[in-house]
Each structure stands twice: as structure tokens, then as C-alpha cells.
């Protein structure tokens, strides 16, 4: 997986610049979609589980981390990544096609890799305090 960053600032190169994600060892099968919403990038493993990668900031001990989430997604499913709270560090999640029943499902992810599998609006899972901005 490779990334290119574009910044709408005066003087910034219009071609953008490579992300340090390029130095992070995430490989993606050719069947996978890629979804992203900063700072989350996600892809699908060959067994239908989902790889959730997140960026913790340039001052974090480890800039990029990734987890495997046990979402049983259809191979090649679209993946839509979105914030699940207005404070980005609280929660992110995604929409995908559940391969077990063919239905669209939501999946809430947090930095502690706690899979919830709960509906997006569950007030208990929203804004999980286990999620922290690294630096």
C-alpha cells in the first residue's frame, strides 16, 4: 500500500508528496478495495477480514499501526471509512458488505482494536474512551 499526500497550501507541490505509509509494511491483495478517511486507511485481507491501519501523528512513538478486524466481508466489497464521532480520536468505522448475510453492515473500530460489530448509533460504543490520540 502506498500513499500520496496533497496539501492545499501556498507553495506546496501540486503533485503532493509521498506519505511515510510507503515505508510501512502493509501489503494488500489485488482483490481488495481501499477506503480511507484521515487518519484511517483500510483494506481487505484475502480471507475477507479487514485490515485497519491508522496514523497517530508524526510525533507518535509509532506513526502507523494496523489491526486485523474480524469483519466477515465479501471479497472485493466496497469499503467506506468514516469518523464515528466529531472528535476524530474517539472512533472511526466503516461500511461494508457482510458476507454472512449479504447485508450492509457497520463496524466500529477503535485504537484498542475492540471490535464491537454494533450498530453505529449505539450510545455505549460511541466515543469510547479507550481511544487516545497518541501524541
Amino acid at each position: 500500500m502506498r500513499g500520496q499526500g496533497f496539501r492545499d497550501t501556498i507553495g506546496a507541490s501540486t503533485q503532493g508528496s509521498r506519505l511515510d505509509l510507503n515505508d510501512y509494511p502493509v501489503t494488500v491483495p489485488s482483490t481488495s478495495s481501499i477506503g480511507c478517511y484521515w487518519p484511517y486507511v483500510m483494506s481487505q485481507n484475502s480471507d475477507g477480514t479487514v485490515k485497519w491501519s491508522s496514523y497517530g501523528g508524526s510525533n507518535a512513538d509509532v506513526a502507523w499501526v494496523n489491526y486485523t478486524l474480524e469483519a466477515h466481508s465479501s471479497i472485493g466489497t466496497g469499503l467506506v471509512v468514516m469518523p464515528a464521532a466529531t472528535v476524530f480520536s474517539n472512533a472511526g468505522g466503516f461500511l461494508y458488505r457482510n458476507n454472512d448475510n449479504g447485508k450492509m453492515e457497520t463496524f466500529l473500530a477503535d485504537r484498542n482494536n475492540n471490535e464491537t460489530g454494533l450498530a453505529w448509533g449505539n450510545s455505549e460504543s460511541r466515543g469510547s474512551s479507550s481511544l487516545k490520540f497518541l501524541r
Binding site: A84, N98, E105, T106, G121
Partner: protein, 118 residues
């Protein structure tokens, strides 16, 4: 779990926006997909009652069968929360090979016309 059936290879799109007048940092979330008739369907959650839809809207009329759909979510980072202003609720898809923009103002989906690209 949401209740909308979708075919295997259909596009899925979505966006989130801060929930207006909410003290718990909650978001309104919208999901879009194309059904087997080629109609773009919208599902959404904007309060505590759970997911709503699917519903269709005129702004999505004539979407090409098999079109991709892409939507925009505003940024949120360490120094900025996801905005509650609805102005960036925009999605893009193909109609006759052209790219149409639609805009959700918090109440209605509006056809914003075609992008000047080929």
C-alpha cells in the same frame, strides 16, 4: 446491522457530518449504494432512533448502471472537530458518462449539476 440488501459488486459510498445541536460529539452518517434496478438508495442515521431508509431521491435520477459513487466527509484532526455545517455533504456519480454532483443540505438532496470534466 442494517437491513438493506445489496448485490455483491455494487458500489458503496457514504459520508458523515457532525450532528447539529449535539453535546456528545455524535455524527450523522449516510450510506449510499445502487440497487439491482440501478436506483441509488440512501440509508442514514441522524438521531437515536436508529437507521432510516433506504430512500431514493430525484437528485440521483438516471445514475449509470454500475456507476461508482464517491462522497466527501470534512476533516477532523487534533485541532478540529468534524463540523456540523452541512455544506460538505456532497456525492458524485456518473450519468451518461458525465459526473454529477449532488448535495444534501441536512433536509433535502439537491442536484448540483455536472462537473466540467470529461
Amino acid at each position: 446491522m442494517l437491513s438493506a440488501d445489496i448485490i455483491l459488486n455494487t458500489t458503496i459510498a457514504g459520508f458523515a457530518v457532525g450532528r447539529p445541536n449535539d453535546s456528545k460529539n455524535q455524527t450523522n452518517t449516510y450510506g449510499l449504494y445502487q440497487d439491482t434496478n440501478g436506483t441509488v438508495q440512501v440509508i442514514w442515521e441522524d438521531d437515536a432512533t436508529g437507521w432510516k431508509g433506504p430512500s431514493t431521491y430525484d437528485a440521483f435520477n438516471d445514475a449509470d448502471q454500475g456507476t461508482d459513487i464517491a462522497c466527501v466527509t470534512a476533516a477532523a484532526w487534533a485541532d478540529a472537530t468534524l463540523q456540523t455545517n452541512q455544506v460538505m455533504n456532497r456525492c458524485f456519480f456518473q450519468v451518461g458518462g458525465k459526473v454529477r454532483e449532488v448535495y444534501y443540505d441536512g433536509t433535502n438532496w439537491q442536484d448540483e449539476g455536472y462537473l466540467p470534466i470529461t
